[in-house]
Each structure stands twice: as structure tokens, then as C-alpha cells.
Symmetry: C2
Subunit: 394 residues, 2 copies
Amino acid sequence: MTVATIEAVDFFYLRMPEVEAIADNSQDSLLVRVASGNDVGWGECDAAPLVSIASFIAPMSHGICRPVQDSVLGQLLDSPADIARINKLVRANGLDLLQTSHTLAGIDMAMWDLLGRRRGEPVWRLLGHEQSHGKTPYASQLFGDDPAETLAKGKAQRDRGFRAVKFGWGPYGQGDARSDREHIAAAREGLGEEGILLVDAGTVWVDDLEAASARLEALKTHRATWLEEPFISPALAAYRQLAELAAPLRLAGGEGAHNFHMAQQMIDYAGIGYVQIDAGRMGITDAKSVADYAAQRDVRFVNHTFNSHLALSASLQPFAGHEKDDICEYPVEARPLAREITQSMIERDANGLIRAPDAPGLGLEIDTAAMARYLVQVEIKIDGEMLYTTPALP
Amino acid sequence: MTVATIEAVDFFYLRMPEVEAIADNSQDSLLVRVASGNDVGWGECDAAPLVSIASFIAPMSHGICRPVQDSVLGQLLDSPADIARINKLVRANGLDLLQTSHTLAGIDMAMWDLLGRRRGEPVWRLLGHEQSHGKTPYASQLFGDDPAETLAKGKAQRDRGFRAVKFGWGPYGQGDARSDREHIAAAREGLGEEGILLVDAGTVWVDDLEAASARLEALKTHRATWLEEPFISPALAAYRQLAELAAPLRLAGGEGAHNFHMAQQMIDYAGIGYVQIDAGRMGITDAKSVADYAAQRDVRFVNHTFNSHLALSASLQPFAGHEKDDICEYPVEARPLAREITQSMIERDANGLIRAPDAPGLGLEIDTAAMARYLVQVEIKIDGEMLYTTPALP
């Protein structure tokens, strides 16, 4: 038997011709290809591409500030236990290299994809789930620039058959509470009385309890299901105090967590009702641990996804078998780049539900022709030695 | 009056000819020079240099994943409030760029140094401290490879007049509890009965309460003052449980915190007796907020420093005026690079104490001739455009 070690890890930085200063993560992408023996797997980091590439190839600073490649290349990859071991090694050797986790996340996805293909099994089965349950997708989009546009955006998603819609960022929280109230009323009107309304404040109040509290009444009046990210992830005390004031409205958060422990803290101390995890930031491995921990604590697990459907599939795997975690984020405003880099997409079934694919690995194929259209050429040289150049497309 | 904006921020990556895989952060350095009007200030990031450089110049990914330079260049820098405002802007615009905080830390130091020089005041006075108290420096060094070497290293620091010594990393926690006990006994013997003994486990047990608990008896028997970093910073529950088992031995931690809120969490939930903050990872601004918060909660603030004396000065500023926070980390094994890049060093006074300098800014001058000996040439190119090359030395 061949010993299957990781022989190559290649990063591809893709970018839209124009990148705008709005909260839309689909404007660029960092794809990762892991190769071992005859197998290949793909992942996608939700990360600043150049910075994550640098963290993969940077010269060692000291024993726990090593480039990610030192802990991945040459490692045995033959079982889920190998992936767990590699995760642990990367995190220990990169303790003082802050970018590490965003870089690892894409590699972790690619390792799971590869192992699933090697074994002919979907990743969710390798993770221990018995089936991949259908989940209600919520159409995830930005608020309109004014309430009329927010109303129109709500109607549009309702017309497309979405029962649940999330509005976030844009003007929300940038003006006063009255203006925010008008957006919430418009969102509810656009969505209809029966729709599931979710609101994302995008950390706009940082840790300002008073500013956030001033928005609660409108959210309760218009029956929002959750208020997401009123504060930055580590502002646990502010979260907890707001959660008490907000009930029965629940708080949601966690996308800022880039390892299991950070998400665990939010579950333990922030009083959140929903924990939102991006596998492109912490990897599938840690995300599965969060999904299991959340289930024990009766906190609902939800994916955070704003990139391609490769990242969507990866983010659905950790909670695929958890029937009670029954809604999921579904990006509906993604740029062409994010839509085109997989040959197919995860579509709603006849009941309007989506699920992690029942196919080997992450269940999607990369479109290398599409990659070529968006590929960015990067060169990093140190003391005359080329440490990274964009690899040739497969 | 000239409006004083930030006109330039330059990064200099310095490196020892040989870098070893040991927990010694002084093997390379990322110096930052900020220029505004006729003034210049210097700072040092405790960070993987290439990765932090990349985070400063990377193309924008989206609205909250912007390069650090976008939030710094051109900003008004005329008061402490300006520095606070720039910190807030960098963190908001870099919410999804993980490396941001380590890069900001060195810029923040340089901004304080510049403002202090401009006003002819030491940074600690600009921070609101009335005086710079002397603090007992603890000689910070790695454990020996075996107990005999640990004993010799303890004796050597005692002979150099250090009343307090910290031993960390190396073999500690890598073998069994019995072998660790021998190192602790040797450290106590080398240091003498009266010495202050501090022990640093370097996160070796990650979040394994049982493994850490097995080391407590030896630490209590040999009267260690603290056990530092048994776990990674976000493992708050494990910290808290160990703290209860450890008393009267105190736990210390916090060097992994790269913003105020992460340190606040450790103070609120981890049960630590000492919070250790590296201004090279979160900046002087956030470190001052931590020092004040710790004082309210009767947790002792201590600097974490393993780099040059520029970083040491920066890390002493936030708690310079706090008389109860009376010990401080003092690196004694730093490589030539870290010793040579300042023209002078912070030395012990006749009473064996050290203090933040009573001189403008951070109070130390950079030795550019020394910088030249260690300077690394970096080039980063995207789609043929040069985004960064190592700048000329001043």
C-alpha cells in the first residue's frame, strides 16, 4: 500500500475586476488545492488572499511562529484522525502567527474533500452524520440604501420563493434608531407576515450596549427571529447583557470565531441563541466540534457563508445530520466569480430546502476555465529568492 | 499651524542569520517607522514580519477586509484621541483580516513615540500616568534541556542580581509530571529560597485540565508565584477550573490577547491573578485599557516582552504609574539583533528596578547601522505591480 502523504498545497487568488468597499465577501477568493497520491481536494479560505498566502510560505520567526506549510506538507493523510492531528499541529506551530487559522480553514476543507473522494464518501458521513437533512435556506442580502429599496429586496426574495430572508449591513446602525426602525418595518412588509425575518447589524455597535438596546423595540415589534452581531465577537459581557434585554428576540453571532474555543466562549458567556460558523475561517474540523457543543447546550448552529458554493457545501457538512438545526445561510447576491468557480451549485429541492450533497467529498467540481478568468498573478521574493508565484492552473 | 497627518509608514524586516525552532521571539523583528510633518516615531510588531507587511499593503477584499494602510495613511495625528480614533478605524476596517492587530500594534507604538517626541513628553505621561514607578524585573529565560542546566540557569541569574526569574518552554510539559517536578525543584534551588519563581508552560496542555493539574503539587511545594499559560488564551473554562485547584498558586496569561476584549475575557472568566500583555501584539492603546481594567478587578498587570528594548519600553508604558503592578518581564536571552537595534537599553537602577524612561516618546533611539546588518529584502508584486519593496534605511 502506498503511504498517502500531502505532496502539494497550491493557492489560487481570484478577484473581480472591481472590488467595492461594501460587506460583500464574494468579491475575491482564495482557493486551495491539496494533492496526495492520485487524489486532489479543494477548499476556499474566507480570508485576505495575499495575507494568507504569505502565512503559508513566510520564513519561520521562531518555534511557534512557523509558516503553515511546515505543518502540512509531507503529513500522512489517510483518515479523519490525520486531519485532526494536522489541525492541532498547525495551530500549535502557528500560535503567534495570527493569520494561521484563516489559511488553515481552506486547507482543512481541501483535506476533507480529498479524503471523501479517496473513500467515495461525502464529508458529512466521514464526520459521523448518518444523513444530510434538508434545511430552510435564508436568502442572505444587504439592506437597501433606503427603506423603499429594502422593501423591494424583501419582496424580490419572497417572489423567488424564500421563506426566510436576512438583511444586513448597509445603512443599518449607521444612522439613528428611527431610521433603522423604518428599514426593519420595510423588511417585514416586503417579506410578508409569515416570513422568517433575520437582521444582521455587522458589529456596528462594537460593544455599545446602549446603542444596541435602542434598536430592540423595532425588532420585537416586527418579530425578527434574531439580531445578529450587534457587537464584535469578543465583547461577551455586552452580548450577555443585551441578550437579557432582547428576549424573546434571540441574538446570533460567531462568524468572527476562528477556532473551536472562541465559539465555545460565545455559547458559554454571550447568551446567544444561534452560533454562526464559517468553515472558511476555522475549518470543517473545528466547526464540527462547535456544532456538537452547541447541540449539547441547546444553542442552534447555523453556517455563515458569503463565498462560493464550495464554501457553502463545506459549511453545511458540520451540522448536516443535526435535524434541530434547520435553517442555513444561502448567499443570493454573490458576484459572478463566486458563482462560476464551481461547475454546479447547491439548489433548492421541491420543498424549497437545501442540503449538503450526497456525493464524494464536498460534492462539487471546480471550473478551472472560470478560475482562469479571475486569477491574480502574485510574486513574493525574499533576499532574491522567489517564495511564491501563482501556480499554473490544473 | 500645519495640519499634522501621517505621511508615511515604513516596515523593516530584520532577521538573524540563523532562526531556530525554539520559543525565542527575538530571532527576527518587524520595525515600523511612522512619519508626520517633521517628526518620526518607531514601533516593533511581535509578529511574522512578511505576513504583517502583506496585511499593510494587500489589495482590499471587501469593506471590512481592507489593508491596514487604508486606515492609517493621511490620518490626522495630533493628540491621544487621534491615536484612539485610528485604532478604532483600523480594527473596524480590518475585522475580517486576521493579521491586522499584530500589524497595528507596531504602528500604534510608533504613533505614541511620535506624539511624545512632538510634545516633548514621555508616552506614560500622555497616557495619564503621573509618574513612572520602578518595577522588579524578572529575568525571563527558557528552561534548561535537563534539570542540571535549569539549576545552572537559575544560579546564573541570581548571580547577576535578579530577585525574580521566570523559566519557560523547553522540555517543560513535554515529558511526564515527574520530569517537570525535577525542573521545578532545580529552578527553585538555583534561584535560592528567597527568590520569586515564575513558571511558563507555554500553552503546552492546550485545554487539558488533567495534564495541567498533575503539575500543581510540585509548583506549590516549590512556592512558584504563578503558573503561566497552561492553556491557550481562549480556553477560559479550563483556566477557571485550574485556577480553583491551583490556589494559592496563581495563574498568569494573556499574551495571546490581541485586543482589549480578549484580555477582558481572561480577567472576567479565566480566574487569572496576572494578566500579561504584549504591546507588540495589541498596541499601547488597548494595553492601557487592559491595565486600567485589571486594576479595577484587582488582577495584576504585567508586560509580556521578548523582543528589543523599544518593545520593552512600549510594554512598560501602559502600567508605568500603577504602583501595585510591581513586577515586569525583562528578557535576558535576547539575540544580538534585539539588543543592537536600540542605541541604549533599559538598565536596572541601584535598587535593581527598571522603569519606563523619563524621556520624550518611548525614550530610545534606533541604531540604523545595526538595522542594516539584519535587514531582509522583500518584494511583493501583484499582476506585475510592485506593492512593497524594503525601503531605504534612514
